[in-house]
Amino acid sequence: MSDFPLVVENLSFKYRTRPELAVENVSFELRQGELLLIAGSSGCGKTTLARCINGLIPRSYRGERKGKVLLQGRDVAEMEIAEMSQVVGTLLQDPERQIVASNVFNEIAFGPENLGLPREEIASRVEQVMKRLNIEYLHERETFNLSGGEKQKVALAGMLAMSPSILLLDEPLASLDPASAHEALAVFRSLADEGKTVILVEHRVEDAISITPDRLLYMEDGRIKYLGPIKNLPNEIDYTQVKLPAPWVVQRVKALDNAPVVSPRPEERERSEPLVVFEDVDFRYDEEYPFILQNVNLKIYPGDLIAVLGPNGAGKSTLVKHAIGLLKPTKGRVLVEGRDTRTMSVAQIARVLGYVFQSPTHMLYAPTVHEELEFGPKNLGFEPELISKSIVESLATVNMKEFEEYPPLALSFGQQKRTTIAAVLAMRSKILVMDEPTAGQDFANYTRFMEALCGTYDGGSSLLSANFDATLFITHDIDLAVTYANRVLLFGDKHVVADGAPEDVLKDVDFLTKYRVRPTSLLQLNLDLLPKTGRFLPAESLAGFA
């Protein structure tokens, strides 16, 4: 038996349906107890590599595989699934889609049940694992009602109950708020310390390095670009591709001697009549349920670019659904352009306020992008000429012209996201509301996306300011608020607990932590440099001041 629990040798793989190699000539080996971080932009082959390691390739996915993956000296391709599942445990990206049982106990017991173990053995394994992860209190709960963080832990428990020696975690943090993400990371670290070999695929590198991985494997186009210790990272990895801690970026920008770009400050507009007003709004979903909103007061003015922060389940989505009239306040009023939403239909409000839901998969349905964009304007009864004009313009704005006759369901995630924005743009509303616009996208993609929306160009006006009077987005990523917003709302305890310029709202770190908002290195650096800069800036721009 070899000394290494995992050896990958000259591995290449090509999917049957694709012309190009998804993974090309990858070799590495892992020691027992090592924690390897795998990073790289979307589509670079991380998941494919993971599938080669856990044996789904070549079993479930067809294609051409070359090279070897040895688990404890034996090739995965030759092992039985039952055997292999006890060596490698895999945690997939979205726990919501990976949990297969309705209640927590059954979920954790699922793997051992499939192995046909005796009942007592299964019960004792489940108990041990729950104890190990401190989730005994979840024992009899329904999996559907768990919070994102709890779901993640239950999925992890289900995997640990198979007692694997290698853990393979494919973007496990994607759906978690920052505080829960750090709890999860701490658990991964402690598992490695107990002697498990851990492979963590994650493009939130900044978060992941807080648990000091032993090495990092950085991939580009299916190949290994860098494999080695973390400390050389700033020099090896392009900071525009992967999110690195702000001080590293600054260091790198300085070393490269790139002239830092400082975009002009977006001009303040006169505060005129508010577009949307919340007046003492209370709301609960049902009389049997507790209040979600209590005493919410809020005005949205033309020129606002608002970031809404707050923990999972605080009621952020509930809040913005009031603005579009999908929900009506239990008490109090919401006014859109001076009219009570109770007296308006959602379709009427949609002329003023365009709402982009978090996941594009919840709204894309049409056979072509063109028809998809037609949907809103047609519903609103626009004239045909106006419809075609709107479509052409909005497609140009999101840079999707060449996809007009393409089926939206066949596009990549990032393109789908832009299609949904275009669909709302075509409705020519005055306010744009986006629920977690960057969730599920990698760093390079989402900076490109946010730059396209919020970045100011030559004329000094961004896509948003040119098309919309005001914008509001909900996010868990505090750096987005730091970089792009001119106003930040912190939502917690059923109402708005802080409202103001980013520099004012985000300066009190203790206050933020109280609402489960984790300060980031970018925020920290910005706060340190604030006396010199006078406002928050993206990491690259800070290089000129540090």
């Binding site: 999917y15 049957r16 349906t17 479930s60 996915y61 067809r62 349905y365 056979p367 089926p407 939206p408 369901l409 066949a410 596009l411 990549s412």
Partner: protein
């Protein structure tokens, strides 16, 4: 695993059977909330198109399970109780419709869509006929009532829905499948 062996019954069929059932249940129940116009006593159950779609995409076992379990779940959610013969009828509907799976090559192709609609309508006929005829023993109705009170409206309603919605679903599915093949 793209071997289209019609009668295979593994993890894939379990998963899509369950997913089809859950969707069929949810949509059957939801269309009670958004009622469509009923012409005579023909009620439209758009969910049927979803069941036929699952059957043609994933085969007869999936159709059977999704139809049987899904109908049971839909009735249970609506609080109507359990009518085993209607659940079985829905299962047969899915089973027959699923026989088309192996011969569909391209979900966008006109010919393949027509084939799927054809099997779907055959499935509706078989399934609804079974349920209507068993209703004679269950409810004590006579053949006329079974044919004209149950079968005809159910057959017509389901067929109309399938003819309209199944092609749309298949075309959408072709786009999704092109992004992620196995």
């Amino acid at each position: 695993m793209n071997d289209k062996s019609t009668w295979e019954f593994g993890t894939r069929q379990v998963v899509y059977g369950a997913i089809g059932a859950a969707l069929y249940g949810v949509f059957s129940w939801a269309t009670n909330i958004f009622p469509l116009p009923a012409a005579g006593n023909v009620t439209f159950r758009p969910a049927v198109a979803v069941l036929i779609f699952f059957a043609s995409a994933y085969g007869p076992w999936v159709g059977l399970l999704a139809g049987f379990i899904g109908n049971t779940l839909g009735d249970a959610l609506s609080g109507w109780g359990f009518y085993w013969h209607w659940s079985l009828g829905n299962g047969l509907m899915g089973l027959v419709a699923g026989l088309v799976m192996a011969s569909i090559k391209d979900f966008r192709a006109r010919g393949d869509i027509m084939k799927a609609v054809g099997y779907g309508v055959a499935g509706i006929a078989v399934g609804m006929l079974f349920a209507s005829l068993t209703e004679m023993f269950m409810g004590g109705i006579d053949l006329n009532t079974a044919l004209f009170g149950y079968f005809t409206p159910a057959f017509l309603g389901n067929t109309v829905v399938t003819v309209i919605l199944l092609p749309v679903l298949m075309i959408a599915f072709a786009a999704v499948a092109s992004r992620r093949g196995r």
